[in-house]
Symmetry: C2
Subunit: 256 residues, 2 copies
DNA sequence: GCTCTAGTATATCATATGTTATAACCTTTT
DNA sequence: AAAAGGTTATAACATATGATATACTAGAGC
């Protein structure tokens, strides 16, 4: 796996080789060198995997949860459904992201999670998370950072919903996803390939489907994005960033 | 402090005596017995305190942060300000709540924090947090739970902004704060004493000041709340819960 | 080649919320 | 006691977004 196995704590050296193993290892190893031991511990974590079809829940709000999930492939959503059937998507999880890191007692899930596209997930016993904290301080910092990042992403979502116009909300979300895909190496240039429908976008942005479509059209008309069948192209990232007041720092990579 | 000092790991026994020390100890000790050692470690954590006047920031988005804060007294907010001056409050922190638990590397804060009322905060070196994970598994679970709870609270805020009407948003927020104050023993019956202005509420709920005021009036007119100078009374909690689709489980206390 | 269905697109009308303006009230300052 | 500034209250008007309806398109199944 990693070519250089020395554990130079605290010294930022170089990126992990891009071939590096699981998305989680890539993520945590992106800006600090991990030892062979750390890497193999993380990999061992992820031996127990499941496959989930698009549209299928892998945990449900209100039910007890005792496992933690790590996205290996595909996209998933965290979401809530209200009694009138309205759905609010809280956030998206991409390869390397962790779901339910903290719901590791007899607590009930406060949201549901479902695959957006066909996905592979690692299923982890949360007791193994405590092990990390006890044995691998660097990895522990990494997990802690990952948690802070999830919090920042949800904070951005809050700002979007509370203080941005429909058009800006959409632009902001597209930028978030583009940056996140960029960080995990899943982008080709300024093209975005998204697995969700406009209806999903609407439920993310707190808009109606019709108005989401209108906002998409507005972005197109102002030349900020263009679309083909399955792809969206960000035509002018600087202009998008400015109109949506997007702050890429919130997605920054882990650095110890 | 604690009368019963035996560490009965994993056995839910009884509440900490209500006299118990710091709000954080009360919070983490609320549903599981903490040993004398755990309690005194937590207390020692909080020796270094600062006082912050209402309206004063104690950290600012975009600046480097190396300390963690624990609310001892007073209220504070996490918030973001956009370039056009619009502000979005992400969440409120009450005594016992932790701010910046995870921003413990050379990362920049992704939001600002300010005191809403005169507050006392403990300032903690994040290295001491790793100690907890390494030495006190029960406390570590507690911190992990506290993190999950903050995440759930921010998730609720997302649902409020995305999928509730103005009136329901306000009701939902009042219920959240009432429940949280109830849990820390700061309520008298159905009365709420809030330190924030309607302008703060507006910036929390993603509304204009005028419409926040209108929504407050609407709640009053439908008999769901009543107000005196400094207090709000929840006249019919069941009806409020139903109309706002409020789920108190998200605020549940820690149980191992 | 048809039919079904999910998704996208657009138009029309309805309404929740924003904006601007003004006044009343309270607290603090002088 | 008056002035000043922040907060709450309400009205009148403007607009962003929601709701409903109807096509259009593309793929899936037969």
């Amino acid at each position: 796996m990693s070519e250089d196995s020395s554990n130079l704590q605290g010294i930022v050296t170089n990126l992990q080789p891009p071939t590096a193993s699981s998305p989680l290892v890539r993520k945590l190893g992106s800006l600090c060198l991990l030892s062979e031991e750390e890497i193999s511990f993380l990999e061992g974590w992820q031996n127990n995997t499941i496959d989930v079809e698009a549209g299928v829940d892998f945990f449900v709000e209100g039910t007890e949860r005792k496992t933690t999930f790590i996205m290996l492939e595909g996209w998933s959503i965290r979401y809530t459904v209200l009694s009138n059937g309205r759905r609010q998507i809280l956030s998206y999880a991409l390869p390397g992201d962790i779901l339910g890191l903290h719901i590791n007692f007899n607590a009930k899930a406060t949201y549901s999670a479902a695959a957006l596209s066909t996905s592979r997930l690692a299923v982890v016993d949360p007791r193994r998370i405590l092990e990390i904290y006890q044995k691998f301080p660097i990895l522990a910092s990494g997990l802690s950072w990952a948690t802070a990042r999830e919090f920042a992403i949800l904070g951005d979502q809050t700002v979007r919903l509370g203080r941005l116009s429909a058009k800006a909300r959409l632009a902001h979300l597209l930028l978030e996803l583009w940056h996140r895909l960029e960080l995990i190496g899943n982008n080709e240039g300024n093209w975005l390939q998204l697995p969700m429908t406009q209806s999903d976008l609407a439920d993310t942005l707190g808009l109606s489907l019709v108005h989401t479509n209108r906002s998409m059209a507005a972005l197109r008309k102002s030349g900020l994005v263009s679309m083909t069948k399955n792809h969206i192209k960000l035509e002018n990232i600087d202009a998008l960033v400015q109109m949506a007041e997007f702050n890429p720092d919130h997605l920054a990579e882990f650095s110890i």
